[in-house]
Symmetry: C2
Subunit: 231 residues, 2 copies
């Protein structure tokens, strides 16, 4: 617990709000997940059960189960009898995350074209993004972007795909939180989406796939140094 890399009390609120009917493990998991995805808990940070239990005023049992939930999410790893820590992010893993995401979204596009899902929601998210880009509102743009892709996946009407994508997107959240945001060109990101919807509307399979593919790959461009530093 004297480790510099251990949980910093200031970054972690000290009490669990008395919400009813929600298991403590879920509340703890949600809080820890938020901390990890926001970048407050950096990769490599060790999660000590007793320390977390003291901080949050709960016993170790819910803490253990919460950490296990995060392990399932792929955000935490356990080393037996040694400790649990926020999973380090390697450049390779970042690349793999985005390439898998690309495959997922291409699959979604294929299915949407097959089952003729309505596209108006996607259009709406495009408009929101454009507006956010014009207002230079990074947070709003990111939110709209996620809404767009979430809708895309949902329209594919494939529960397993959606679950897998959601899990993958957790890591993307984390990566984005650790990235340097200054390099992002808001207008460019926003302008990437409408053509995708256009291609979907036109039923142009090849073009839709090529566009979503390229878009995902563009997002994957990252600064490995940034990631490495976050260890």
């Amino acid at each position: 617990m004297n480790n510099v890399n251990s949980v910093a009390p200031d970054d972690m609120p000290h009490d669990i709000a008395p919400i009813e009917n929600v298991p403590l493990r879920v509340q703890v998991a949600d809080r820890l997940r938020t901390a990890i995805l926001s970048g407050r808990l950096k990769p490599g940070t060790s999660l000590v059960e007793t320390a977390l239990a003291d901080q949050m005023n709960v016993s170790r049992a819910p803490i253990r189960e919460a950490i296990q939930i995060l392990e399932n999410d792929g955000l935490v790893e356990t080393i037996a009898y040694k400790g649990k820590r926020v999973k380090p992010l390697t450049a390779r893993e970042v690349g793999e995350t985005y390439s898998l995401r690309e495959v997922f979204e291409v699959m979604a596009v294929r299915r949407i074209l097959d089952n003729g899902a309505p596209l108006d929601q996607l259009r709406k998210h495009c408009d929101t993004m454009t507006a956010a880009a014009r207002a230079d509102d990074f947070e709003a743009l990111i939110a709209a972007d996620e809404a767009f892709h979430h809708t895309l996946i949902t329209l594919a009407d494939h529960d397993l795909l959606r679950a897998s994508w959601k899990n993958l997107y957790l890591r993307i959240h984390q990566i984005m939180a650790l990235r340097n945001r200054d390099e992002s060109n808001l207008t460019e990101i926003a302008s990437n989406h409408p053509p995708i919807v256009d291609a979907l509307e036109a039923g142009d399979t090849e073009r839709a796939i090529a566009l979503i593919s390229e878009h995902t790959r563009t997002l994957a461009t990252f600064d490995p140094v940034t990631i490495a530093q976050s260890l």
Copy 2:
């Protein structure tokens, strides 16, 4: 515990062997997983913590954690304050499992063609399958088939893909265990694989993808009634 659908003592060995250095939760999880994947624990069976703890002579804590591991594997679902049960298998879920697997394997084929991985292991597994088909040895054929696909995924050199595929394959194990095996044509399954390796060797992307795609889809043919009965 008077439920007809609860854990049957005869199907579940009563004691955990005293293996050293392996956490009880892992041993319990492995045993339960095996039971589920083999079909001994059928979908819908409720998993009562206290009953399992008594049967295996351990406390409830490792049982809870083991069940949570299986939940992460997607084999078990929890209903708060009500119980945990082996996740029911719907026809839709079976279909989704195979369609996602198809996407994974296509991705693997693409990557193998890109990075020029050696194909001799795949050839070897093909030979094993052919031999098994000739000997009418179902178990050996299934094992070789899994080895083939596992190798295919591993050659793609993508950790996240392999992890996702492995998780998905758990469900395929379960499905196969619940299926009626008589309908399978051993020779046909075995003969499907060599052409895939041929296409890979020839560097024919389109043909390789088409073949692996069709192969996966063939495997997806199942009898919904069989699945439904298993509830």
